[in-house]
Amino acid sequence: MLKELLLEISASEYISKTLLAAKLGRPEGLIEDGLAQLVRLGYLAEGSGSSSCAVKCGKCPYASLCGQDPIRTLTITTAGQKYIDRH
C-alpha cells in the first residue's frame, strides 16, 4: 500500500485523505497511517504552515490565535523521489 500511496501522491496536486482513500480503495484511517509511515521512513517530509507552539509569543494579545489551525504540507524527499523513479 505504501508504494501505491507514494506513487499516487507524486501524481497528485494536493493531499486529500478522502480522495486517496477512494482512489486506493482503502479506508481513510489506513491512508492516514500510511502517510505517517512514509514520513517516519523518510520518503515524505512533513511541514506545518504555522508558527510553532514552541515560539514564545510573550504577552502578545493575539498569542492565542497562533498555530490554531495549521495548514499541513508534505514534500517528497530525495529518498522518496528515488523510490518513485525506480518504480
Binding site: 478522502t18 479506508p27 489506513l30 504552515g49 509569543c57 493575539y62
Partner: protein, 671 residues
C-alpha cells in the same frame, strides 16, 4: 501467582475503558522503571481465577520510536504476560490490525477484543469475526467496553489461551520471496543461546533498521557469533535501502488480505462531498476567481452588518463616556491639560479606534466561519498554484495567510520553509499583507470617503497587498535569492460544519487582542504623542509649532507628491511604525485637538480628498512594518541588516505606490 494479561491497542480504541470495566476500582497506577510512562495494573476475577491485567500505553506500532512503544514491546517480549489482549477499534479496524500483525510476529499469544462494534454497526460497517479469527489465527471477541458487553467472553477466551502450550505462538508473516530469504539468513545467525527474543522477529527488526535491536543483538553474541552475524547482516542488508518500506508494506498487504474478506464498508471508493466541492473550489481556472468572490462577499457582509446594522453602537458609547468623563473632570476642577488629555488623547485617540469594533466583530466572525469550515487550506492551494504559475515557491503563501492575522507570526511561520531562499522571500514579503492592525485605518477612510463602496475598497487593498507580495517575491527570487522551486503538497482536510463555539472563540480572540492593544500599545503611543503635541510650553496645542507639529512638518514634504503632504498625516504614518492601529488613534487625536468635538470622519473629509485618501491607504498598506514585525525579522533572519532593509524597501514601495495612485489619478482627472 496470578496469571498476567497485557492490554495493548492504538490510542482511542477504548483500551482504558475496557481496563476500567474489567478491574473496576481494583487497580493502581505507577511508573514503568526508568521512564515516565504510566503503568496501570489491576486485578479481576474470572471463575475461580484472579487475573492480573496490565494496561500498556496506547501505541500504533511496536518500533523503537517512543518510550511508549519501547515499554510495550519490552514487556511483551519479556514473556511476563501469559496472554495479550489486543483491543482493536472496529470502526478503524484496518489501521488497528497493523499493530496486531506486529504482536503476532513477536510470538505473543493474542486475543483480539474487537471493540466498539456497536459504533461500527451504526456506521454500517459489516464485520465477519469468524473470518477475521480464521485469517489471523487467533480468537476474536466482539466487545462494547463502554456497555460492558462481551467482557465475559473475552476473559474466557484469554483464560482458555493461557492453558495452551507453547507460551509463544508460531506465526509467520511472509514478506515475499526475496525478503523472506533474507530473514531466514539472518534468523540463523541470531538464533543463539544468549538471545532470548524470537529469532524471526529479531531478523525482521534488523532488516527494518531497528538500532535498538541491533545493539541488543551485538551485546548478546559471543565474538565469533558477532563476526558471523556482521558478515551476514552486511550481505543481506546491502543495496536494500527500501527494505523498511517493503516490510511495512508487507504488513499492510497482510492486513488487506485479512480484511478484504471479513470487513465491508458502505462508502469505499465513493467520492465524498468534500471531494466533489474541491473539484469546484480548487479548480485550475475557477479556484482563484471563486476565492476572490468569497473574500468579496465576506467584506460586503462585514459592511452590511457591521456598519449598516451595528454602526454607531460603540461610537455612541464612546461619545457618552467622553462626555461623562469631561463632566466628572469639570466637577472636580481638574486642570485644563488633564481635560485636554482625556478629551483629545483618550477619547479622540484611543476611543476612535474602538468605534470600529462592530465591523471587526463581524469581519472576524465571517473569517472564523471560513477557517472552521476548512476552506482556508483551499485558499492556500489556489494561491499556491498562482505563485507557481509566476515561478515562485508556492509554499511561501502559507506564511502570508498567517500574516493576514498578524505579520509577527506570519514572519515566524516562514521558519517552517526548508531552504533559506524561500524563508527570506517569505519574510520580506509578509509585511505587504493586510494584517488585522491595518483594518481600522481602512475602515476610517472608507467611512469618510467610500461608504457605498466599502467592500470593494477593502477587497482591492487585500488584493493589492497580495499582488505586490507576488511581484516583490518574483523580484527577490530573480535577484537576491535565486534558487530552485521545490515541489510540495498541501493537505486539504475534509470540510466541516463550522461550530458556533469555534467561530465565537476565534472572533473573541481577535477582538480581545484588539482591545488589549488599544489599552496598551496604542494608549502609550497616543499619550506620548499628546505630550509632544503640547510642548514646548506656551505653544498652541496641536499646532505646527508644537514638537509633534515640527516633527510632522519635517517629514510631510516627502509625502507631498502622494497628495497628503500635511504634518498630521505624516505624524499619523510615523506613529504607525509603533503599531498600525496608532495611525487612526493619532489622526483622531490631532484632529480632535484642532477642532474640539469634531468626529474623525468629518476631520478626514476636510483634510483629504477621495484620491489622496486612496493614496494614503496604499501607503499604509505597503509602508514600513511595525516595530514588533521588524524585531521579528531581525530575530528570524539573525541579522539587523534585513530588518533595516525591510523597513526601507517597504517604505520605498509604499511611497512609489501612493505617488503612482495620486499622480495617475490626477492625470485621469480624479483629483
Amino acid at each position: 501467582m496470578s496469571k498476567i494479561i497485557a492490554l495493548v491497542g492504538n490510542p482511542n480504541c477504548g483500551k482504558t475503558t475496557l481496563f476500567n470495566a474489567l478491574t473496576g476500582a481494583n487497580h493502581h497506577v505507577g511508573n514503568w522503571p526508568g521512564v515516565t510512562v504510566e503503568r496501570k495494573e489491576g486485578q479481576f476475577r474470572h471463575g475461580n481465577e484472579v487475573l492480573t491485567i496490565v494496561d500498556l500505553p496506547g501505541i500504533y506500532s511496536l518500533g523503537a520510536f517512543s518510550e511508549d512503544e519501547m515499554v510495550a514491546r519490552d514487556f511483551i517480549l519479556s514473556g511476563e504476560p501469559d496472554v495479550v489482549i489486543n483491543v482493536v477499534d472496529a470502526t478503524n479496524i484496518e489501521r488497528n490490525l497493523y499493530l496486531t500483525t506486529q504482536l503476532l510476529e513477536m510470538g505473543a499469544k493474542v486475543v483480539v477484543a474487537l471493540n466498539m462494534v456497536d459504533e461500527a454497526n451504526s456506521r454500517k460497517i459489516s464485520l465477519n469475526t469468524g473470518a477475521l479469527s480464521r485469517r489471523l489465527g487467533v480468537p476474536v471477541v466482539p466487545t462494547v467496553a463502554s456497555k460492558r458487553k462481551g467482557l465475559e467472553e473475552l476473559a474466557e477466551a484469554a483464560v482458555s489461551l493461557m492453558g495452551l502450550a507453547p507460551k509463544r505462538s508460531r506465526y509467520h508473516l511472509s514478506y515475499g520471496e526475496s525478503i523472506d530469504a533474507k530473514v531466514a539468513e539472518l534468523e540463523k545467525v541470531v538464533h543463539v543461546e544468549g538471545l532470548v527474543y524470537p529469532p524471526r522477529w529479531v531478523a525482521v527488526k534488523l532488516l527494518e533498521g531497528d538500532e535498538h535491536v541491533l545493539r541488543m543483538v551485538e551485546g548478546s553474541l559471543s565474538s565469533q557469533e558477532l563476526e558471523n552475524f556482521r558478515r551476514v547482516y552486511e550481505e543481506v542488508a546491502a543495496h536494500s535501502s527500501d527494505l523498511p518500506l517493503e516490510i511495512v508494506d508487507g504488513r499492510y498487504r497482510f492486513v488487506h488480505a485479512v480484511t478484504s474478506s471479513a470487513v465491508r464498508r458502505p462508502s469505499e471508493g465513493v467520492l465524498t462531498l468534500t471531494d466533489r466541492l474541491d473539484r469546484v473550489l480548487t479548480h485550475r481556472y475557477w479556484g482563484l476567481p471563486l476565492f476572490a468572490l468569497i473574500m468579496f462577499a465576506v467584506f460586503q457582509l462585514t459592511f452590511a452588518l457591521g456598519q449598516d446594522l451595528l454602526g454607531g453602537l460603540v461610537a455612541g458609547g464612546v461619545e457618552f463616556v467622553g462626555e461623562a468623563l469631561d463632566g466628572l473632570l469639570l466637577r472636580v476642577s481638574a486642570p485644563d491639560w488633564l481635560r485636554s488629555y482625556a478629551a483629545e488623547g483618550l477619547i479622540g485617540g484611543v476611543g476612535v479606534v474602538l468605534e470600529f469594533i462592530p465591523l471587526i466583530v463581524i469581519l472576524y466572525m465571517l473569517m472564523g466561519l471560513l477557517e472552521d469550515s476548512g476552506y482556508m487550506a483551499r485558499a492556500a492551494y489556489v494561491m499556491d498554484n498562482t505563485m507557481r504559475a509566476v515561478g515562485l515557491q508556492g509554499k511561501t503563501f502559507i506564511p502570508l495567510i498567517v500574516g493576514f492575522g498578524c505579520n509577527v507570526p506570519g514572519v515566524m511561520a516562514a521558519r517552517t520553509l526548508e531552504n533559506k531562499k524561500d524563508r527570506m522571500i517569505a519574510i520580506l514579503i509578509n509585511p505587504f499583507m493586510s494584517c488585522g492592525a491595518k483594518i481600522p485605518i481602512y475602515l476610517a477612510f472608507i467611512a469618510a470617503f467610500f461608504p457605498e463602496q466599502g467592500a470593494l475598497v477593502m477587497f482591492s487593498l487585500y488584493v493589492l497587498g497580495i499582488l505586490v507580495a507576488l511581484l516583490m517575491g518574483k523580484v527577490l527570487s530573480s535577484t537576491l535569492f535565486k534558487g530552485d522551486v521545490s515541489h510540495f503538497l498541501l493537505e486539504l482536510p475534509p470540510y466541516r460544519t463550522p461550530t458556533l463555539r469555534n467561530v465565537l472563540r476565534n472572533m473573541w480572540d481577535n477582538v480581545s487582542g484588539f482591545l488589549a492593544r488599544a489599552g496598551t500599545v496604542i494608549f502609550v503611543v497616543v499619550s506620548l504623542l499628546w505630550v509632544l503635541s503640547a510642548l514646548p510650553a506656551g505653544v498652541e496645542p496641536y499646532g505646527p509649532e508644537s514638537i509633534l507639529g515640527r516633527i510632522g512638518s519635517l517629514i510631510a514634504p516627502i509625502f507631498a507628491p502622494a497628495g497628503f503632504g500635511n504634518w498630521q498625516a505624516a505624524v499619523g504614518l510615523f506613529s504607525g511604525i509603533a503599531a498600525k492601529e496608532a495611525v487612526v488613534a493619532t489622526l483622531g487625536m490631532v484632529y480632535a485637538g484642532v477642532e474640539e468635538g469634531i468626529e474623525l470622519v468629518s476631520a478626514l473629509q476636510g483634510a483629504f480628498t477621495p484620491l489622496t485618501a486612496l493614496s494614503f491607504l496604499v501607503m499604509t498598506l505597503l509602508y514600513t512594518p511595525c516595530v514588533a514585525t521588524l524585531a521579528t525579522i531581525r530575530k528570524e533572519t539573525g541579522s539587523a541588516k534585513w530588518a533595516v532593509f525591510s523597513a526601507f524597501y517597504s517604505f520605498a514601495i509604499g511611497w512609489v505606490g501612493a505617488v503612482l495612485v495620486f499622480q495617475v489619478g490626477r492625470i485621469l482627472g480624479l483629483g
